[in-house]
């Protein structure tokens, strides 16, 4: 599911950082709050229990908060805390990391005045923009990128920063804007929901920024600060470091912030920014709120109806949605407010051969299901879901491995030694001891050949 997936990715990234970097991150209260929001519920509970308690807490005290039978969740929560260096454990007592404790307390009780939550502008903006404009702008910028990926001819091409990000993240390949092609990973990206897509790109940006010698800590500070800004409020550039100002330019291209021109002294976060770290529960509500937020007109969150006879009716006129549907549905007719088509073996096989999995197709249909569909349980007709999965299995009827077949061993001993060596190396794919034959992968073959030669040399 997309929401847990993006969480785990940013969490994985944070857990992969060394302790010193994490402590630098914790200096900013906005970051502490954002990290707190990204944690699972039980972890948040433990942190709150320890937050305003200056003394260390016994690990066994935490058992009071946990129901019988949930001890595995408790263990997971503690592991998460340890992994992100949020607690130190000694002799059964847990202490919250002191920078994190100070930062989170600040964030919650509004203590220190610092710039980590962004400085709102106090001067009037002559060219003030409203929330509707921001939503439209974000929508246009984001869709521009997605359209470019799908290959719809809009005539406008995203600029070089965006293109190099797409290339680096493996979502598209190619050297010039005119010959860039989408990759398998790119297809999977298209089927994710907007929040997950943004985080995927931002994580790639983080990875790239380390190569460009931008400080990862400042990049993360800025991202988490964006997550806590208020929609419709303009913020001043005074709080930003030079690295963050460079980031601002890049984020403008993705539609995450709006700046009238690059010399403006203020910027507006769009809805894409303010929902970056929002703590949303169910996947459906997250995508529903994002979709309705990004909608240019009054539009239902879900718009796809799937019938048991494999026919699909999609109530949309957005070229992007239609292009994405075209990836795995054989679209037949288009009307003013909807498109219809059928999910056929051909269309699904085409999608599968492009690298999309059956699970992603099913998830996409579930996420964008029309509210009418919600009346039936299960949501999607089981016949169709099963058939899509069966078509995927059909593609995998044959497993092939390139390599070498060894046979004609002169004695059982010889077979046992060489086969044993191959097995230990892990390069053996198949063997038949009573016929004294086995198969070795192409990559592992050289080692087996060397081994046999050595044996012949020494043993004769």
């Amino acid at each position: 599911m997309s929401v847990p997936k993006f969480r785990t990715s940013i969490n994985d990234f944070l857990e992969g950082l060394p302790e010193t970097v994490l402590i630098r991150l914790f200096y900013s209260p906005a970051t502490c709050l954002a990290i707190f929001r990204l944690l699972p519920a039980m972890t948040q509970l433990f942190i709150m229990a320890m937050l305003f308690n200056d003394k260390p807490v016994a690990a066994t005290d935490l058992n009071l908060w946990v129901q019988e039978g949930s001890s595995s969740k408790q263990y997971d929560a503690l592991e998460k805390l340890r992994g992100m260096h949020l607690v130190k454990q000694s002799q059964g007592m847990l202490t919250l990391q002191k920078t994190f404790r100070a930062g989170l307390r600040n964030a919650l009780s509004g203590g220190d005045h610092n710039n980590s939550f962004g400085i709102p502008c106090d001067t009037e903006d002559k060219h003030k923009v409203d929330i509707k404009f921001l939503d439209e702008h974000a929508n246009n910028q984001w869709e521009l990128i997605l359209h470019f990926m799908v290959g719809t001819d809009t005539g406008k091409v995203p600029n070089n920063g965006v293109l190099s990000l797409l290339r680096h993240s493996g979502l598209m390949e190619g050297s010039t804007p005119s010959n860039m092609r989408i990759t398998n990973a790119g297809f999977q990206f298209l089927l994710q929901d907007v929040n997950a897509q943004i985080w995927t790109l931002l994580l790639q940006y983080l990875n790239m920024s380390e190569d460009l010698h931008m400080d990862a800590v400042e990049v993360l500070h800025f991202l988490f600060m964006l997550g806590s800004l208020e929609l419709g409020q303009d913020y001043s550039l005074a709080a930003l470091s030079p690295t963050q100002k460079i980031m601002l330019d890049d984020l403008r291209d993705y539609g995450i912030v709006y700046q009238r021109k690059s010399s403006s002294r203020r910027f507006y976060p769009t809805r894409l920014a303010t929902t970056l770290t929002s703590d949303t529960g169910a996947l459906l509500t997250a995508s529903a709120s994002m979709d309705s937020a990004i909608a240019q007109k009054e539009r239902e969150a879900g718009f796809v109806i799937l019938e048991t006879n494999f026919k699909v009716y999609a109530y949309t006129d957005s070229p992007l949605q239609i292009a994405v549907l075209n990836l795995f549905v054989h679209l037949r007719s288009r009307f003013a407010n909807m498109v219809t088509g059928q999910i056929s073996r051909e269309s699904v096989r085409k999608a599968l051969s492009n690298g999309i999995t059956a699970d992603q197709i099913v998830t996409y249909l579930t996420v964008h299901a029309h509210p009418q569909m919600r009346k039936s349980t299960p949501l999607l007709p089981p016949t169709v879901v099963d058939q899509i999965r069966l078509w995927q299995l059909e593609m995998e009827r044959m497993k092939t491995v390139e390599g070498y077949l060894y046979s004609d061993f002169s004695s059982k001993n010889e077979y046992d030694t060489i086969a044993g060596y191959a097995r230990d190396l892990g390069v053996m794919t198949w063997e038949k001891p009573n016929k004294r034959m086995f198969f070795v992968t192409k990559e592992g073959n050289q080692q087996i050949v060397d081994f046999v030669r050595r044996k012949v040399h020494s043993g004769a």
């Binding site: 059909e394 044959m398 497993k399 092939t400 390599g403 070498y404 061993f409 077979y415 073959n445 046999v452």
Partner: protein, 74 residues
């Protein structure tokens, strides 16, 4: 000294194996060795050919909605 033969190990179920063997019976240049009920050794350059033939043979027996369209139009 053992003998090493270069090839592609194909792991599949018996029905697919039978299909590949029948393909081979016409040209005799695909299968190098019949290993057991679920494994075959085939020649490396013939792999793509085998995959395509298999696909087309399996697709022969499936219903294509596009065909229905053509029939309805007539």
């Amino acid at each position: 000294m053992p003998r090493a033969v270069k090839g592609v190990l194909v792991e599949c179920d018996p029905s697919i194996k039978a299909l590949i063997l029948s393909l081979d019976s016409k040209s005799h240049n695909i299968v190098l060795a019949d290993l057991d009920d679920e494994h075959l050794l085939i020649d490396v350059p013939m792999l793509e050919y085998v995959k395509r033939e298999l696909d087309s043979q399996l697709a022969e027996n499936t219903f294509k909605p596009a065909e229905l369209d053509n029939i309805q139009r007539k």
